[in-house]
């Protein structure tokens, strides 16, 4: 089948504004949007720029606005997207070129929540920090995040307020806040209780709809809110 692919392109060296370009690509219904982008780049226009690495929904580098919704290009099949497909860069992050965005503002928010285990104590047996299956289950969902930024850039609050820490950073804070082995519980909650922290969530659920890993992000945000209330952080 022939697929009409509309791509929003922008080259900062030659363009003042982004513009749309159309390509006709032959594809199978089981091909992915990423395959179509490869077709364009390899056989029609080598200047098309996008980011991808594993191409199998693990690395999270090819999140794009496909048919008006944030998705991973490597996980979106032509049979689901249809024969007219629009592709844009994810929103609210500076576009470097075409579908490639500057992820630095996103990483800044991610690192701000201290996404690592803080525990300087030596384990009881000197080898490993044990955890019950029930305690592990508390952050099972949020441990699945691949940092693709599909959730944060789908959030209307983030579109209008770039200072909002965003769903992805909260998900990764939740992963350690709910970890019984971690010792930076209150420090992380203090960051989350900031004016641009969890309180900005308006329960729109765009993040949940966009997450390619199926993480219930709004639930994680509400659980962090509950933890803040327990500790009484202001």
């Amino acid at each position: 089948m022939d697929v009409q692919l509309r791509i929003r392109r922008f080259n900062p060296e030659t363009d003042n504004e982004p513009h749309w370009e159309e390509y006709t690509v032959e594809a199978e219904p089981t091909d992915r949007v990423l395959d179509l982008l490869h077709q364009v780049k390899w056989y029609q226009d080598g200047t098309l720029t996008f980011r991808r690495s594993c191409a199998h929904g693990v690395c999270g580098s090819d999140a794009m606005l496909i048919n008006g919704r944030n998705r991973l290009a490597c996980e979106t099949l032509v049979k689901d997207a249809g024969d007219k497909i629009t592709v844009e860069a994810i929103r609210s992050l500076p576009v470097i070129k075409d579908l490639l965005v500057d992820m630095e503002p996103f990483w800044d928010k991610y690192t701000a929540v201290m996404p690592f285990l803080v525990n300087d104590e030596i384990p009881d047996d000197g080898k490993e920090r044990r955890q019950s299956p029930a305690d592990r289950e508390l952050y099972e969902d949020t441990s699945k995040c691949i940092l693709c930024a599909a959730c944060t850039t789908a959030c209307p609050v983030f579109w209008t307020n770039p200072d909002y820490v965003g769903p992805a950073a909260i998900v990764n804070a939740h992963r350690f806040i709910m970890d019984s082995r971690d010792h930076a519980h209150e420090e992380r909650l203090q960051i989350m209780a900031d004016a641009d922290g969890v309180w900005r969530c308006r329960t729109v659920f765009n993040c949940v709809e966009a997450c390619p890993r199926g993480i219930n992000i709004t639930r994680a945000i509400m659980e962090v809110v509950g933890e803040i209330q327990k500790v009484g952080t202001t």
């Binding site: 919704r69 949940v208 509400m222 509950g226």
Partner: protein
Amino acid sequence: MFGLFGYQVSWSQLAWFGHRASGLGVLLYLFMHVVETSTVLFGPEVYDAAVGIFKNLPARLGEIVLMAALVYHALNGLRVIAMDFWPGLTVYYRPLTYGVIAATIVAMVPLSILMITPFAPWNPV
């Protein structure tokens, strides 16, 4: 579904947008209502005249829209508050959203009939 702000809306995004729009609409009405009610300071005649502006069919239709905004805003607000208190409910955000929209429509059927009846063409005053 259609796009809003260049992004394909989901029902939950529409519910959020409707919550904002209805809240803003009710707030604007409140300002108007305060002005209308304050005319009582200038005597009963002025007040009756001010209130009289809204005693007709088009104004009543507007009040029905206002009532729908109030009912929706209240029900959707309860949905959001419930998810705040019980994060487990977020699993059911889709049915809860549909439920709020359906409950608003169901509540507005008798309310609309009750509100429109005094001004309906078939009901001479």
